[in-house]
């Protein structure tokens, strides 16, 4: 079974790639549009997928951040997320974010920049260990 593992590909120059996974394409598109409207020094690329695993035939850049978008009104949406999670290595997990789309888009862009290594002084590895320790900041604080 193919599994996405973090940090197993080389990053591309000044590009930060995020993968949004969710059943409702319209929601993913809206979130993608909001993120791309944010002011960001890095070049953003947003990949949209309904579920994992991703088609293996495509050559794609390193994915810096994966966001699963779950519609809490839809059992179908939750089931799809559960099944997709099986294809993601457990060490990828950072946490969850809730809230209005605009603020969420902003937070995601900032997180993405950290994960892509575009923020001096904070690396993706830092982020993983920071969020794991109970004294560290929560996702909302970032």
């Amino acid at each position: 079974m193919s599994v996405l593992r973090p940090l197993d590909k080389l990053p591309s120059l000044n590009t930060a790639t995020i993968l949004l996974v969710g059943t409702e394409d319209a929601l993913l598109q809206q979130l993608a549009d909001s993120m791309l409207k944010e002011d960001c020094a890095s070049e953003l690329k947003v990949h949209l997928a309904k579920s994992l695993p991703l088609p293996s035939s495509v050559n794609r850049p390193r994915i810096d951040l994966i966001v699963f978008v779950v519609n809490l009104h839809s059992k179908y949406s939750l089931q799809n997320t559960e099944e997709s999670l099986r294809h993601v290595d457990a060490s990828f997990f950072l946490g969850k974010v809730e809230g209005f789309r605009a603020t969420m888009a902003q937070r995601l862009v900032r997180m993405l920049q950290i994960c892509a290594g575009h923020v001096p002084g904070v690396s993706a590895l830092n982020l993983l260990s920071l969020l794991r320790s109970s004294e560290g900041p929560s996702l909302e604080d970032l």
Binding site: E24, D25, L48, A49, K50, S51, P55, V58, Y76
Partner: protein, 305 residues
Amino acid sequence: MDETVAEFIKRTILKIPLNELTTILKAWDFLSENQLQTVNFRQRKESVVQHLIHLCEEKRASLNDAALLDIIYTQFHQHQKVWDVFQMSKGPGEDVDLFDMKQFKNSFKKILQRALKNVTVSFRETEENAVWIRIAWGTQYTKPNQYKPTYVVYYSQTPYAFKSSSTLRRNTPLLGQTFETHNSATPLQERSLGLDINMDSRIIHENIVEKERVQRITQETFGDYPQPQLEFAQYKLETKFKSDLNGSILAEREEPLRCLIKFSSPHLLEALKSLAPAGIADAPLSPLLTCIPNKRKNYFKIRDK
């Protein structure tokens, strides 16, 4: 200014809604600020158009300028068109070439003009590494028809090109060959999506194949035409309780449970048709829902076999 060009510009401007007119004219950047200031945009549309044509004549608008205006209009109204998606694939052992926009435009134009004597090709680049190509088709003996152009939007950093559906279908193979010749790649695969795809090239859809499958199944099930207007469907169930959970009290019950499920909507069948494309349900939908138009009924009694 040529009469046909004047007519072409006039018809294009007439299409533009008044509230978009200044924006589009500014994007066109053909008439100067001073010229535009002399126009009273609050008049009747015919008067505005006449004034604008007069200004275009002063500035000696060419066919190229007119074509550019048409491209800009289409860019503003791209959602009104149906687009086919083409994916270019590399032959085995081919390298990624560095893309040169100028060279691409030159060779694209040359190839088309060599093949067809009468053709108008115009380009407009946009910020996202995309180039809009407008092609007006003629034949060996007739001048290009400016009112039935084909648009191709090519994102140079991706293998995708979008082509507007055209009534002049005979020219599609020629377009395909033009891309082929330029890219020296294997023939194009046509993928018709008919979906409202966001054309921002920074957004990549991973599951295009799945989307197409859903679209195809939806079309096979519901057809292309609008669904009959229906406001509700009712299912009376008299079935035994089924559950995955062990030890559920209801699971041991021998008698069937009775329950009534009612779906209501201002347009139920259209709502059902949109479920799978919206990602709210998987395709194909349950036949209990999709059989409604065929069976011509919307009251169902369901019992265990």
